[in-house]
């Protein structure tokens, strides 16, 4: 695939799928204000995906709605981290923490992308991502220093989630060209920045970051290999759209 399309599909699909997943907390969050906060950030992510699908459309791909709602799981390029069910709040918070740290650093780097339309979108969304990271850090610091139960659960969630989080940085064949053309700094560089960034926050808690070198990333998502959880998500998300794909909204 053309390196620009390859990169954009990965970015957009991550935002759409995690945005949809996080929206499942709507009405079920631990307290009202947090419910609103988490749902609002989920909507932000859908907004980001819309902007990125818009860029794809400008490059000749189908309309954003068509791209979002008519593909099946093997055609999605999101990492497997984003498609896992929401589980309990400890998992959802840790996923939010690990994913959004990577997203903020990613879009800060993309603000200097050689592909100007993408740089423009990145400059617009990084302010929102900064807040998402502030939100994640606040809860991780608070729960990671709270009661024994809270610390245990956050630690367990962290250890479960990390192998999936490493799949954020799975590369494709286009990687060398993405880097050489200045589209993006590349996944390896991003991962190094991410490790430094999450370590800094975790160091302020009772949580311990395992040696990432000992973990095996759960790869495959970028190549269209997904868990059994993605297709049911897509079926539900597209249920209304597929009733009448030509409906005017």
């Amino acid at each position: 695939m053309n390196p620009t399309l390859d990169l954009l599909y990965r970015l957009a699909d991550d935002q759409l799928i995690l945005g949809h997943r996080n929206s499942e907390w709507n009405g079920l969050g631990p307290i009202l204000e947090e419910d609103i906060a988490f749902s609002s950030m989920a909507q932000d992510k859908l907004g980001h995906s819309l902007q990125l699908y818009g860029l794809l459309h400008e490059l000749g791909e189908a309309e954003p709605d068509t791209v979002a709602f008519t593909r099946n799981a093997p055609q999605f390029h999101c990492c497997q981290l984003t498609e896992l069910p929401i589980g309990e709040y400890d998992f959802s918070l840790i996923r939010h923490f690990l994913f959004d740290h990577a997203e903020l650093l990613r879009f800060e780097a993309l603000a200097d992308s050689s592909y100007e339309p993408l740089a423009l979108v990145a400059r617009k969304v990084k302010g929102e991502l900064k807040y998402h990271v502030l939100h994640a850090n606040t809860w991780v610091k608070r729960l990671g220093t709270a009661t024994e139960e809270a610390i245990e659960r956050m630690q367990a969630a962290l250890e479960f989630t990390l192998p999936y989080a490493l799949s954020i940085f799975e590369t494709t064949e286009a990687e060398p060209e993405i880097i050489s053309s200045g589209l993006f700094i590349g996944e390896a560089e991003l991962q190094a920045r991410w490790e430094a960034s999450i370590s800094k926050v975790l160091a302020q808690t009772a949580l311990t970051l395992p040696d990432l070198r000992t973990l095996t990333p759960v790869a495959g998502g970028r190549q269209g290999q997904h868990t059994e959880h993605l297709q049911p998500l897509l079926d539900e998300m597209a249920e209304v759209f597929r009733l009448d794909p030509t409906a005017d909204w």
């Binding site: 499942e24 907390w25 079920l28 631990p30 307290i31 204000e33 947090e34 609103i36 906060a37 609002s40 909507q43 932000d44 907004g47 980001h48 819309l50 902007q51 896992l84 069910p85 929401i86 589980g87 309990e88 709040y89 998992f91 617009k124 969304v125 990084k126 302010g127 929102e128 900064k130 807040y131 502030l134 939100h135 606040t138 809860w139 610091k141 608070r142 139960e149 367990a156 969630a157 479960f160 959880h229 049911p232 539900e236």
Partner: protein, 223 residues
């Protein structure tokens, strides 16, 4: 387990591959009726008051309260509650318990005129113990919001009110005054200004962008 936060029985080991969405999976109710358990104590977070700045260089104005376990979390909730629907360039939060409130005057007067004088020696003694910065907020009219008018240096909230009278007492009307120790206010960082600019093109978030009345009318006529 701690009551209402976790909806699942603790016997389920880290039920990750599980959704709370009832359309995806129903809540797992125990098969055997359980014995009566203790009623969980009600808990309630303290409240924090929120001030926002609607544009660069405008005075911070009171916008409403939030419940939160601590100031950092109050700040997150404040951003969600009060900055998403209209422009905002900065936000402060303060524990409700940290605000000193004067009595209310009527819409024509200034409450500073009715301020009891502090004995000079009290001001003097206090001054010796060290001065701190206080932020002063005025309510100009009932039903409006308190707005920031400035800071004064004083050794107590009472002394700060006297200092505020000297500095801002010529303003009219002043229906009510809030005095807040500056150190108690959690303020948004200037470095994080870009946090307040949300991406445009989110009309789908606003009810007003769904224009359906003409379709409803047409549907009724057809029916």
């Amino acid at each position: 387990m701690t009551g209402i936060i976790y909806l699942l029985p603790s016997s389920i080991p880290f039920p990750l591959l599980f959704s709370f969405d009832p359309r995806i999976s129903r809540l797992e109710l125990p098969e055997v009726p359980s014995l009566p358990t203790d009623k969980v104590a009600l808990d309630q977070f303290p409240t924090y008051e929120v001030f926002h700045q609607r544009k660069e260089n405008a005075a911070y104005a009171y916008v409403g309260p939030v419940h939160a376990p601590e100031a950092d979390v109050a700040f997150l909730f404040a951003k969600e509650q009060f900055s998403r629907r209209f422009p905002c360039t900065g936000m402060w939060v303060v524990p409700t318990s940290a605000i000193k409130v004067t009595e209310y005057g009527d819409d024509q007067q200034s409450v500073y005129d009715r301020l009891p004088l502090l004995p000079a020696d009290e001001l003097g003694t206090a001054a010796a113990t060290g001065q701190e910065s206080y932020d002063i907020f005025h309510l100009k009219k009932r039903g409006k919001a308190h707005a920031h008018v400035g800071q004064v240096q004083a050794a107590s909230p009472e002394a700060a009110l006297q200092a505020a009278k000297a500095a801002f007492g010529d303003q009219r009307p002043v229906v009510n005054v809030w005095v807040i120790r500056s150190a108690d206010l959690l303020r948004s960082d200037d470095e994080d200004r870009d946090m307040w600019t949300t991406t445009p093109d989110k009309k789908y978030r606003e009810a007003i962008s769904y224009k359906v009345q003409d379709r409803i009318d047409r549907f009724k006529q057809e029916g």
